[in-house]
């Protein structure tokens, strides 16, 4: 097991470095100076600014320093627009918010989606099954940026039950709509995957053997069917995580929750390369780390995987 984890880590580190290099090269090859703007700034000022931020140094020295600062100080660099801000400040501000509703959306997707899928498979061709299938088909065409306005329209404008934006330190009324908007499509996917794999497991030979032995249905499901049926769900958690990180940008923009996505879009509109690069690298590292965790969990649960 340890060898497997080390092996996977050795794969993850080059990916991480590749991601940093890729974003850095993109930024480096951007036409024009990051400090050029509509206002007329003399070339001397731009040159001074570039020197201050170290942008006049050779490419390898720049990227070397950048990676070195991340590794040793966890420092993702400065903002090129706001002098008194660096990426770490923005992360410290926005990340707790993103993490809060992201966590609950993840919990919603996994628990409700998983339960719905399993129950639908156990009660195949009943109204429960049709409900689950209906939800998972419907959610395919309702990605977060479509669902969010619909939710606000219904629950804020028509019913007036929940606030349509803001965060207020994470009071529950403000968390519900972002969580539902972010989690629903993943919940539906998990329900679909869990249902399909449970149906497959239920028709397999070892379940027939367990039935033939006369084990009670409850025991068959809990002890024999559940674990293999949930394996495809676990391997879907990696892509789901990426999707949620990406989706959090929409949630932050639409609900003004003040999470990290809001800073990302703001920096994209301002062409604040420093912040964009910092957030991309941070979220990319998180994604790679999470995929690593999922792989390890998968190998740990599934005895068929050899490592």
């Amino acid at each position: 097991m340890t060898a497997f984890i080390i092996k996977r880590l050795l794969v993850a580190i080059p990916i991480l470095i590749l991601l940093i290099v890729l974003t850095f090269v993109l930024m480096y090859s951007a036409p024009g100076s990051p400090f050029a703007s509509e206002r007329n700034i003399s070339p001397q000022v731009i040159a001074n600014l570039e020197r201050e931020y170290g942008l006049d140094r050779p490419f390898l020295a720049q990227i070397g320093t950048y990676i070195w600062n991340i590794v040793t100080d966890f420092d993702f660099g400065p903002s090129f627009i706001y002098r008194d801000q660096d990426v770490n400040d923005l992360i410290a501000q926005g990340f707790p918010v993103t993490l809060t509703y992201g966590f609950w959306a993840f919990v919603l997707a996994v628990t409700v989606g998983g339960t719905l899928g399993i129950v639908a498979a156990l009660r195949q061709n009943t109204w429960l099954d049709y409900l689950a299938v209906g939800i998972s088909i419907g959610a395919q065409v309702l990605p977060n940026f479509v669902l969010a306005p619909i939710l606000v329209l219904v629950f804020t404008l028509w019913l007036g039950w929940l606030p349509g934006g803001g965060w207020q330190g994470g009071q529950w009324q403000f968390v519900i709509l972002p969580v539902v908007a972010l989690g629903t499509s993943f919940m539906a996917s998990i329900a679909r995957i869990a249902r399909a794999s449970m149906l497959e497991v239920l028709s397999s030979n070892f379940i027939r053997t367990a039935r033939a032995k006369g084990l009670p249905a409850r025991r068959i499901i809990l002890r024999h069917a559940l674990k293999p049926a949930l394996l495809p769900v676990i391997s879907y958690l990696g892509p789901a995580f990426v999707g949620m990180i990406t989706g959090s940008v929409v949630i932050d923009i639409y609900f003004s929750t003040g999470g990290i996505g809001q800073f990302f879009v703001a920096s994209a509109l301002n062409r604040d390369y420093g912040v964009m690069m910092g957030i991309t690298v941070l979220l990319g590292s998180l994604t790679i780390l999470f995929n690593l965790l999922v792989d390890v969990a998968y190998a740990w649960i599934d005895p068929k995987i050899r490592y």
Binding site: V141, L142, V146, P149, V152, L153, V249, A268
Partner: protein, 304 residues
């Protein structure tokens, strides 16, 4: 007279008709009601995108100064003013804008899927056919690219090199082929051991010719099904970026940009600004999903 008897093929009518894979698939597809509904919906959406701008009384850039400032009342959908879907907050005709946005969204979806078909199929077929180290290196590359949060890189790309439809195509094309490559590789591995490939190898056919003439045609079924299902996800990517205001630029628009505008304005009582683009988005995506599922059922030989 003799030549006439030679070309007389009437005796063939008595011979039993062979059923090809494709004819069978076509029959199954047309018997599938959900798939047919999807196909009809898609045809209507496409017709709207193509014919809409031609029949609209207003241009998508034109501002109707008469309704400006009173969009909630005068900009309602109505037949008299010629604003069949109403206007947006700037007084631009929503019918023309939705038609134009539908064009962009469909185009992004189709281009993304086409890139996936060409690049992904060839890449996967080459990796699967050669196997060994080549396969290992090529598929590791795909794994690495897939574990990067591409949406952020894509936005980075758009910001750095300027937002344009072309850049959007390039960015979406960069990621769309990855899944296709995996699927094509898996299928190629299964095909590689078949007798007809062995025969081609034995007669000394060049490897790339084997891939193009013998492997790729046999991948077509899977590729078509997957490409159809890829179109809606490409449309979702583009809409996502446009929803954030980072995609296509004014005066061009797309489903995502229109939904964004509509959702920002819905508090002001102009619900049609959200309803029409959202309606086309949902109907269009449903259409693609149902057609894709129908094609899968039709082309999947497991159900014979």
């Amino acid at each position: 007279m003799r030549s006439a008897t030679l070309t007389d093929t009437s005796y063939l009518a008595d011979a039993p008709q062979g059923r090809s894979l494709w004819a069978d698939a076509r029959r199954r597809f047309f018997a599938n009601r959900a798939a047919m509904a999807g196909l009809i919906a898609l045809t209507l959406v496409a017709a709207f995108a193509i014919i809409g701008p031609l029949v609209a009384p207003w241009d998508h850039e034109e501002i109707d100064w008469a309704v400006l400032g009173q969009v909630e009342t005068l900009g309602r959908p109505s037949l008299e003013t010629g604003h069949w879907f109403g206007t947006d907050t700037l007084g631009r005709d929503l019918f023309a804008r939705t038609a134009q946005g539908t064009q962009i969204s469909l185009m992004v979806g189709l281009v993304g899927a086409l890139i996936a078909v060409f690049v992904g199929t060839l890449y996967g077929a080459v990796a699967g056919y050669f196997g060994g180290r080549v396969d290992g290196a090529m598929m590791r590359t795909v794994d690495v690219l897939m574990s990067i949060p591409y949406m952020f890189v894509l936005i980075l790309l758009l910001v750095v090199f300027g937002r344009s439809v072309l850049m959007l195509f390039v960015g979406i094309g960069l990621i769309s082929w990855l899944d296709m490559a995996r699927i094509a590789r898996g299928q190629t591995l299964a095909l590689k051991g078949k007798e007809f490939v062995e025969a081609a190898v034995a007669t000394g056919v060049h490897p790339f010719r084997i891939i193009l003439r013998h492997i790729v045609p046999n991948l077509l079924g899977v590729v078509i099904v997957y490409a159809t299902l890829l179109v809606p996800s490409m449309i979702i990517y583009e809409s996502f970026i446009s929803f954030l205001g980072l995609g296509v630029q004014e005066p061009l628009t797309s489903w995502g940009a229109l939904i964004n505008e509509g959702s920002a304005e819905m508090r002001n009582g102009t619900i049609w600004q959200l309803a029409f683009p959202l309606g086309f988005f949902v109907v269009g995506l449903f259409g693609f999903f149902f057609v894709g599922d129908g094609l899968r059922d039709a082309l999947d030989p497991k159900d014979r």
